[in-house]
Structures are given as structure tokens and as C-alpha cells.
């Protein structure tokens, strides 16, 4: 789960890190008590808000009163702005980047730091980026910090502040099951004070049971995706017209690709998972029905999953919910003959060939 910047900064402050003073507002009426001059930043669950006009400066509260409604009216990459952070505008002499990210290939966290802060980290040349792989059983050690400080080359006073920040970030990463923590910029003021100017914190979804404070956190994702998540269904909205239900994440992705190959455009990615439980099948179809694709493609490869049990769930939910969206099914594997009979009785013709079924669903007329 991606924490919004202000939530990340709240956590930073709780761990004793120095963050700019700020106030979160939802309207111009709530600006009293906010620090000025200020930077106004929309709080949304995606990056690139600066380029999209989601970051403004206000010298005074009156300037901010005019800006807040404009910012609140923005929708960036499909994310409606619901909150604006009004933060003390720092006088910045230099911007540094520090982060702890996951190195999947080496199966460990990596400490990253560069004096080229403020920019896209992906654009920093490798020889300007300090990297230290952290053994999960050993963790962050003082020698990692010493190596980092030598690499960055700041005077002792600033170097020790940055080392302190990294030590605390590591503590947060470990204690809160972080999968990514970035502070960009880590801001150095002309007086030599180091602030965490931004906070990007991602918490492992699978570890939320250990962190009830985030489990209830409303996440900035589309409402149907939020409901799917609450029901434990892997569901992603795309911009096409064909709703895809398949069993298994890999097969569902392969199904989107197959549709694209025949010129089709997927609207929904829905992974049924390794289940043939009719209740789960029904929940998935109800969600799909609400997402209103113009047609549905059901792709089942029955290994352990029994195709006929899936088919039973499908025909039941279509009847119960009176689903009118045209459905093309591809059924293959365990008990496929029985499944085809069940679907045929409900007027649904099932293919066995993945290719043929995909071609068919692209060709039929939707609602």
C-alpha cells in the first residue's frame, strides 16, 4: 500500500525525523494555522503531480485561499484530489536523495543515496548513485553509513545528519514492513539543517495484519478496485471493453495479451485464483457485472480447479443477477466435458481452444 505523503511524514515525525511543518486541508476554510510561505501539494496515490500542476507556491494565506480550490478541483491520472498538504516552504541549498528499495534479484533491501536529489532517480547515472545491498540477516551496519558518507562527500555535520536519517528509515522499513522508502528531496538548508522534504512509503500489503493502523487506511484507488481488494479478489480496471476472468494471475495476463493479439481491448483483469468455489465465482461475476464491460471472456484451465464446478457457479450467478452481458467461455482441463454441458444448458457455447475463443469474443457484438 502506497501511503500518501502526509501520512508518510506523520510516521517520519513519530520516529523523530525532521519534516517541514505543515497542515492537511480539504478546503480554503481550513488554512488557519498553516505555515507561510508555503508549498501546496496535492495528496494523491500516484507520482508526477508536479508536472501535472499539482504543486503550487503561496507567499501568504490569501494566495493560498485562491489556490486550494483550484488544486482540489484537479484529477491527475484518474486520481481525484481529496486533500492538499500545505507545508512550510524550505530554503533549500542542496537536494539529496536517499532510499531503501527492494532488490528482487538479490532478494534483499538496497540502500540508495545520491547528491543529485530532486530529479527522477531513474535518470541518475550509475556512477553518481551510492548502492549498498543489505543482508536481511545482518541489516544496516555503521560501515554502510560510513561508506555512504564518503561517497556523498558532505561536511561532517551534514553527513552525520544524513546518516541519522538513513538509520531511522531502516528502522521504519523493518518495523513497518516497508517495501520501499524514499526521501526525495532530502533537503539541506543554507544553515546546514537537513529535512525530509518528501516521503514515499510503501507498506507490504501482505503484512498489514501486523500493522492494524494501516489496515483501515482508505487507499487512493478506484472504488470497484477497493471493493475487490476488500473481498480478496485481484481486479484491475483497464480502458477497453472486454471483461476478462481467468484462473491464475499468469493465465489472466496471458488472456489480456491474447485478446490484444486479435485486436481486442481488455476492460477488466479479474483473477479467479486457484478456486472453483461457486461462492467465489459468484462474487467475481457480481463485481464484473458492476464494472459494466460490453462483453465477458471467461478463460479457465482446470488443473486442480474443476471446470464443472466453475461452470455451475457461472450459470447460477448469471441467472441470479440477471447478467445480460454476452459471455464467451474457453474451458479446458479437468471435467471440461461436464462443464461444457452445464454451460450449453444455459445457452453458453464453450470453446476449448484459447485462440479460437479469444478471436470469437473480439468479433461478437457487445452491449
Amino acid at each position: 500500500m502506497n501511503l500518501l505523503e502526509y501520512r508518510g511524514k506523520e510516521i517520519f515525525a513519530r520516529y523523530g525525523l525532521r519534516v517541514p511543518r505543515g497542515k492537511v486541508v480539504t478546503s480554503a476554510d481550513e488554512l488557519d494555522g498553516a505555515p507561510f510561505p508555503a508549498v501546496l501539494k496535492v495528496q494523491i496515490g500516484t507520482g508526477g503531480r508536479g508536472k501535472a500542476g499539482g504543486v503550487k507556491f503561496a507567499e501568504t494565506i490569501d494566495e493560498a485561499r485562491a489556490l486550494v480550490p483550484q488544486l482540489m478541483a484537479l484529477t491527475i491520472k484518474g486520481f481525484k484530489v481529496r486533500k492538499v498538504l500545505v507545508a512550510e516552504k524550505l530554503d533549500i541549498a542542496q537536494e539529496v536523495y536517499v532510499g531503501i528499495v527492494l532488490d528482487r534479484l538479490n532478494r534483499c533491501p538496497v540502500l540508495l543515496a545520491t547528491a543529485m536529489g530532486g530529479v527522477e532517480v531513474e535518470d541518475v547515472p550509475p556512477n553518481k548513485m551510492f548502492k549498498a545491498a543489505l543482508d536481511p540477516l545482518v541489516g544496516l551496519r555503521p560501515y554502510h553509513l560510513r561508506d555512504m558518507s564518503v561517497f556523498l562527500g558532505f561536511p561532517k555535520d551534514i553527513a552525520s545528519q544524513i546518516e541519522g536519517i538513513v538509520e531511522t528509515l531502516w528502522k521504519i522499513y523493518r518495523e513497518l514492513d516497508g517495501t520501499l522508502i524514499e526521501v526525495n528531496p532530502t533537503a539541506i538548508t543554507p544553515k546546514g539543517e537537513v529535512y525530509c522534504g518528501d516521503a514515499k512509503v510503501v507498506i507490504d500489503n501482505d503484512a498489514l495484519y501486523r500493522h492494524p493502523e494501516f489496515a483501515q487506511e482508505p487507499e487512493d484507488i478506484p472504488p470497484l478496485e477497493a471493493r475487490a481488494k476488500a473481498e480478496g479478489i485481484a481486479f484491475v480496471q483497464l480502458d477497453g471493453d472486454i471483461g476478462v476472468i481467468a484462473n491464475g494471475a499468469g493465465l489472466t495476463m496471458a488472456t489480456l495479451d491474447m485478446l490484444a493479439r486479435f485486436g481486442g481491448k481488455p476492460a477488466i483483469f479479474l483473477d479467479l485464483g486457484g478456486t472453483d468455489d461457486p461462492e467465489k465465482v459468484k462474487a467475481c461475476f457480481r463485481l464484473m457485472n458492476e464494472a459494466r464491460p460490453s462483453k465477458i471472456f471467461l478463460n479457465i484451465f482446470g488443473g486442480i480447479t474443476k471446470c464443472d464446478t466453475v461452470a455451475l457457479g457461472v450459470t447460477k450467478v448469471i441467472e441470479e443477477e440477471n447478467i445480460k452481458i454476452p459471455l464467451v467461455a474457453r474451458i479446458k482441463g479437468r471435467n471440461e466435458a461436464e462443464a461444457r454441458e452445464i454451460l450449453a444448458a444455459a445457452g453458453i457455447e464453450a470453446e476449448t481452444s484459447f485462440e479460437k475463443a479469444a478471436e470469437k469474443v473480439v468479433a461478437i457484438k457487445g452491449v
Binding site: 528482487r104 536481511p136 507490504d204 503484512a207 494471475a249 499468469g250 489480456l256 483473477d271
Partner: protein, 282 residues
Amino acid sequence: MSRTTRVMVQGITGTQGQFHTRAMLDYGTRLVAGVTPGKGGEHVHGVPVFNSVAAAVKKAKANASCIFVPARFAMDAVLEALESPAVKLICVITEHIPVHDAMRMVAVARAKGVRLVGPNCPGVAVPGTGKIGIMPETIFRQGSVGVVSRSGTLTYEIVNALSEAKIGQSTIVGIGGDPVNGTNFLDMLEFFQKDRRTESIVLVGEIGGNAEEAAAAYIKRRVRKPVVAYVAGRVAPPGKTMGHAGAIISGKSGTASSKIEALEAVGVKVADRPGAVPELLP
């Protein structure tokens, strides 16, 4: 995995554990023990259940483990298995294990030289010999193609297509869909290159991370056997987790096109759909 592999199932008394114990036994796997704390002395499909790994290893001579323990307790189960020097292979089927837990168990396994497969994986199968995990035995056919995959059902789809084309498999390994896995593509490529029963290799990848790019670099340096690949997620949008925790395009990295390009650049034939994999094998 071989004829001498003696499997215990940790979490044998749960629904999944019982169901797949039956399937593993039916396929001929030497499944010698189960472990569920507090249920020692019971039997599941004739297999004795022990209270601890240590007891299962001592009394039933288990040397491999298949983990069905729920995510919250899975790390503990894996660490318990890793305490026994006799245990050389651990397949973690459990899904939704926290990444930090996965990193720790993988680090311990690597330090001890134990082969850990998963988490969130369908397991390992050697057609004609046995299987550990949850792969459906109906799709297997004995032969000489080594299959390694990040996905479950997509693997079944491809293995089934191979078998229907009368192309058999030497070993099938699902390495799992999580960001951190104990066994990765490089480990399996190394294994298949050395394995005398394997003549060609099928690699099934998907979006997220750079495992396929790393595999391509490894293939160029070390692999002399023909490799055919399929990569899922060509039309997946950036920033969205596509079912598997590890299947996410972050910024510009982890796209299917980058993976396909890297693989093709080192001479790997990449299928444009699962059904095309058999045609591309020599």
C-alpha cells in the same frame, strides 16, 4: 528431486494439506510424514503426523518439505525445517507471506545451502518420478524439456500444450509469483544446463522486476541448450499489481517488451502466445 526424496508435508491436517497429500501419494511421491503441532499421532491418508519437524526427520527419515502452513506462521515453519540438517529441499506453496519474512527465510536457506522453492509457488514435478506441491499430474508427460515458470495455471496451460504435442518434460518448477523467491530463473537455468535428462528449456516469465533480463544475460554466458520463452503481460498497465504480488511495472522497469527484447537478443525464441511454445522447440 529424485527417487531418494522423502517428503514431509508441514500443515498436513489443513484442507489444502490433506487434499494435496492424497494427490502426491497417488502420483507416487514418497511422502513419508506430516507435521502439525498438537496433532502428532494422527494419520492423514495413512501418513503419520508428527508434532515437529525434528520428529518427522528422526522417525520417518524425511529429507524434503512441502509447506502448506498459513502465511502468518509460514516463516516459522520454514525456519523449523531449516534447523534440520537432513532437509535439503523445501517447497513453500503458501501465498501472501510478507516480503520481510520471505527475505529472511530465503537468506537462511541460502546460507545453509538448502534449495528453497517459492513462496507462492505450485512446487516441483518430475514426470514419472513424483511431485511436491499442487501441480495437476494429468498434464505431465515424461521427456526432456525442463520448464521453469513464475506462474501456476499458465505453466499448466503450457505444459499441457507440450504434452498434447507429444513433447515430454524432465522437470517442471514453479518458482512463484512473489517479489522475493528462494529459487530464481538463474538457479534453474544452471540446473537445467547441467541436468543430463534435460535437452531443452522452456522459461515462462511475466511483467515485474528484471528476472527475465538477468536470465537473458545468464543464458548468453552459460546456457548452451536451446531456450524457448513466453512472457505474460504485454498489455498490462504500469503501476498496477496484476494478481501476483511481483507482477507490477514500476516506472519504466519490468515491462514485457524489455524482457522479450532482452531474451530475443541472446537468441531465445519468444512465443507470442502460450500455444506457440511447442512449435518453437527444436
